[in-house]
């Protein structure tokens, strides 16, 4: 029985416990019982069918974005602009929903999704081109484009697409039923979106593991100059990788605006883009973990909304729990790194 091996395998629990302890501490600070709070959150996520379906409905776009980000992370990019890409996808889908009335639902939805993906891809391409031609780091172009996307949304909501009773700044006119994704029961969850997710999962898996393009991205992410010398055109691949992610993010945006909501809203992206970045980081950039971690995040965050309704505790508690989890795992999650460092020091003495 190798104690070191056991400790190493069990180690990941430590940061998780740490996050739970810290969060509990915060709750105690506000005279709330951590046990009750977590129970509330659990009930808020899975208490009844509609809540569980809400968790699923939130999970879909979150996972779609995370899958897209796996591609950009492989290429060595920090695609902070993913929020804006979601928004542009929503805008694209909204445009079709409001302006185009196709003869049947199948055509309508297909068109909406295609335009959403194209819009997200184009918005991402802007970031990519600013990086390759303008040498602007994608963090900052993403930041600026996120804000521009929000401004565009607000304009559409308060201007050309405002509801007939006047702009309330909450959202545009609601879409006709035919334009929305078919939903299950009275919830926000659309089983069709689950189909998209599964397809996306397979595509991303194959792209990263089994295509030449995926290998090119991997080389690019690890050593751009060597990749160049080996024949990889970084300009082309950066743009393609970003567009791929933008398309998936746009698809996520379409799912948001066509099933979670029924119109374009101010906070249409719901912070999903940034959350997706956290999901991928916590998954250590490995595809197999992404859907599960995204589900966990979705459960916690939806649960914390109910928490606020019930206990007056701010719903940001969910964000705190997930954020702390990522932070502690990022800092302390790798026992080998922590142990190795000490070993190296001993060797040098």
């Amino acid at each position: 029985m190798n104690t070191k091996r056991i400790a190493s395998a069990l180690w990941p629990i430590v940061p998780i416990l740490g996050a739970l302890l810290f969060t509990s501490g915060l709750l105690l600070l506000f005279d709330a019982s951590p046990l009750e709070a977590f129970q509330s959150m659990f009930k808020g996520s899975f208490g009844d069918q509609s809540k569980t379906l809400s968790v699923l409905a939130f999970w879909i776009p979150l996972t779609l974005c995370s899958l897209g980000l796996l591609i950009t992370f492989t290429a060595g990019l920090w695609n902070i602009g993913v929020e804006g890409q979601i928004i542009l996808g929503s805008i694209g889908a909204s445009w079709i929903a409001l302006k185009v009335h196709a003869p049947n639902a199948f055509l309508q939805i297909t068109l909406e999704l295609i335009v959403a993906m194209a819009a997200g891809a184009l918005w991402a391409a802007l970031s990519a081109i600013l990086k390759t031609r303008g040498k602007v780091h994608e963090i900052f172009s993403g930041l600026a484009l996120n804000n521009l996307a929000i401004i565009l949304t607000n304009y559409l909501i308060s201007g050309p697409w405002q509801p007939p009773e006047g702009g309330t700044f909450r959202g545009t006119t609601p879409f006709p039923d035919a334009a929305l994704l078919p939903r299950f029961a009275e919830s926000r969850f659309s089983p069709l979106s689950l189909v998209f997710l599964i397809i996306a999962l397979v595509i991303v898996f194959v792209a990263l593991r089994g295509t030449f393009w995926g290998l090119k991205l991997k080389a690019l992410g690890k050593n751009p100059f060597s990749a160049f010398l080996l024949g990889v055109s970084s300009e082309k691949e950066v743009i393609l990788a970003m567009m791929f992610c933008g398309a998936l993010a746009g698809l996520g945006g379409a799912v948001r605006v066509l099933s979670w909501f029924d119109s374009l809203r101010q906070s249409i992206s719901g912070g999903i883009g940034f959350l997706a970045l956290l999901v991928v980081m916590l998954a250590n950039y490995r595809l197999i973990w992404v859907p599960f971690i995204a589900f966990f995040f979705s459960a916690v965050l939806n649960g914390s909304i109910t928490l606020q309704l019930r206990t007056q505790l701010h719903s940001s508690l969910g964000g705190i729990l997930t954020g702390l989890l990522v932070l502690f795992v990022l800092l302390f999650g790798d026992p080998k790194a922590l142990g190795l460092r000490r070993k190296k020091e001993e060797q040098n003495e």
């Binding site: 030449f212 991997k218 050593n223 060597s226 990749a227 010398l229 080996l230 024949g231």
Partner: protein, 487 residues
């Protein structure tokens, strides 16, 4: 002050870089430390100057044992080392570079320090504009500054690591005269680490020779070169007999090529390389050879002139286009420029293939990788990551990734940092390429390699290419003159 090194040992994994070296150095003398690449000269001097600790052994200054924890501490004990690439700060002004780390006062005292700098400079005949920025200076000037800084810091012992690579002839004379003054007039100890026998003969009073980590002998200077060479190599190397393979067709033609960069302009290059020929570019670092190689690879644009590959004008073509036209470029930094740390050998092989399918067939690729591993004698498995390979194996991998056949192979420092076995193996691979009809254009800092391996040689000095020389008929001395800029 005198110095004694006792039984210095330093091992890097299994390599015995220093294997029990003992020697004594007296004040007022200039010593030469000789040995071929990898003999242990740099390692020993890094230990003496405090850059790294020895695994065992002692350093004694005036019979007191010393332990250096850093170069700064060594300097305060009187030992300073001048590196080939001076440890200065390009964005700083000369005066700020000099002031950094000098004392612990908060405000910078420009007045006193300017006077001090100028005084040192004039003592050794260096001319400096102390308001200038370091990145506008030439290598020789940066060296002079670093010397002054070390002397002002109290150095009684100066170690010079290959100082004459990359500086002009006048700067070299200036350096030598200042060294003579420091040793003979001021009683300091100078250690010159070099592989250039002529310079060591010219400047030093005594030489030590290292071979494979051990001190194998020494001599008072001047003496016969053969005596030193024998100790360094254990036999006098003669250029091996080899039939030339050069064919009639021209693989590469450079017509009046001019390449202009911020630092250096190379102009009017006229050069022909035949298929099957090995053409060596000699010269100091930064003299322009690398610019020519990069331009031929499409990595640098040419300002003027033409590059013609097997009769086709490829001037202005991009790197990837050149790659498709059967030109290959192998850079000197293996992991920085050529291999990807974190990717396995198989992944490299797949990436490097000129034709590829959309979906990767991993099974076939692994088989292909196994073939290449055995063909090129790479020590590793298909799953080994490039960064886990040794230097020699990385170079073999780089070769294994090259296309076959190639019209032109451009190489920077093909055997830098490799042991003799790897070096010979690499050149065997290159000879094979030559037999297939590839033209090879390479640069190297090792003159012996240039003379031994090339069919014809051109020398670069300060951006100017010399006349072209036949390797069979030239000597290291003739090349040395050409490097110095003399005809």
């Amino acid at each position: 002050m005198n110095i004694e090194l006792r039984e210095i040992r330093k091992y890097f994994d299994h390599v015995k870089a220093n294997d029990g070296i003992s020697l004594t150095l007296e004040a007022g003398k200039i010593y030469g430390l000789l040995g071929e690449n990898g003999a242990g000269k740099s390692t020993l001097m890094k230990i003496l100057s405090g850059y790294q600790p020895a695994d065992s052994g002692e350093i004694l200054l005036d019979d007191h044992t010393q332990h250096f924890s850093s170069p700064a501490q060594a300097l305060s004990s009187g030992i300073g080392m001048l590196y080939q690439e001076p440890l200065d700060f390009p964005p700083f002004r000369i005066i700020d570079n000099y002031l950094l780390g000098r004392d612990n006062r908060i405000a910078l005292d420009y007045k006193t320090v300017s006077a001090e700098l100028n005084e040192y400079a004039s003592r050794y005949n260096f001319s400096l504009d102390i308001g200038a920025f370091i990145d506008t200076l030439s290598l020789g000037e940066r060296q002079q500054l670093e010397l002054i800084r070390l002397l002002a810091g109290g150095a009684q012992v100066l170690i010079l690591d290959e100082p004459t690579t990359g500086i002009s002839a006048e700067q070299k004379q200036l350096l030598f005269s200042s060294m003579r003054k420091l040793a003979h007039d001021e009683g300091k100890i100078i250690i010159l680490v070099s592989h250039k026998l002529d310079e060591v003969q010219e400047l030093c009073d005594q030489a030590f020779v290292l071979r494979r980590g051990k001190l194998v002998g020494g001599s008072d200077l001047p003496c016969q070169n053969e005596k030193l060479v024998e100790m360094m190599f254990a036999q006098i190397p003669a250029r091996s007999e080899r039939t030339a393979m050069a064919q009639k067709e021209l693989a590469l033609e450079l017509r009046d090529l001019t390449i202009s960069t911020y630092r250096l302009t190379v102009s009017g290059i006229n050069l022909n390389v035949c298929a099957g020929e090995i053409f060596g570019l000699a010269g100091l670092e930064g003299s322009g050879q690398e610019l020519v190689l990069k331009a031929c690879a499409g990595l640098l644009p040419s300002a003027h002139g033409k590059i013609i590959l097997a009769g086709q004008d490829v001037t202005g073509w991009s790197y990837h286009r050149m790659q498709k036209a059967d030109i290959a470029y192998v850079a000197a930094g293996r992991l920085e420029a050529g291999l990807v740390a974190g990717l396995s050998i198989t992944e490299h092989v797949v990436l490097a293939q000129p034709e590829h399918t959309f979906f990767i067939d991993w099974k076939t690729s692994e088989q292909e990788t196994l073939n290449r591993i055995s063909d090129y004698q790479i020590v590793g498995t298909p799953d080994t990551n490039a960064d886990q390979l040794s230097g020699g194996n990385q170079q073999r991998l780089l070769f294994a990734l090259l296309k076959t056949p190639l019209k032109l192979l451009l190489m920077e420092h093909p055997t830098r940092g490799l042991d003799v076995r790897s070096t010979n193996w690499i050149w065997e691979l290159l000879y094979n390429r030559r037999e297939q009809g590839s033209a090879i254009l390479f640069m190297s800092a090792d003159l012996d390699e240039i003379v031994e391996r090339s069919d014809r040689i051109a020398v670069f000095s300060g951006g100017v290419m010399s006349r072209i020389v036949d390797a069979k008929q030239t000597t290291v001395e003739e090349l040395g003159h050409l490097i110095g800029g003399r005809e």
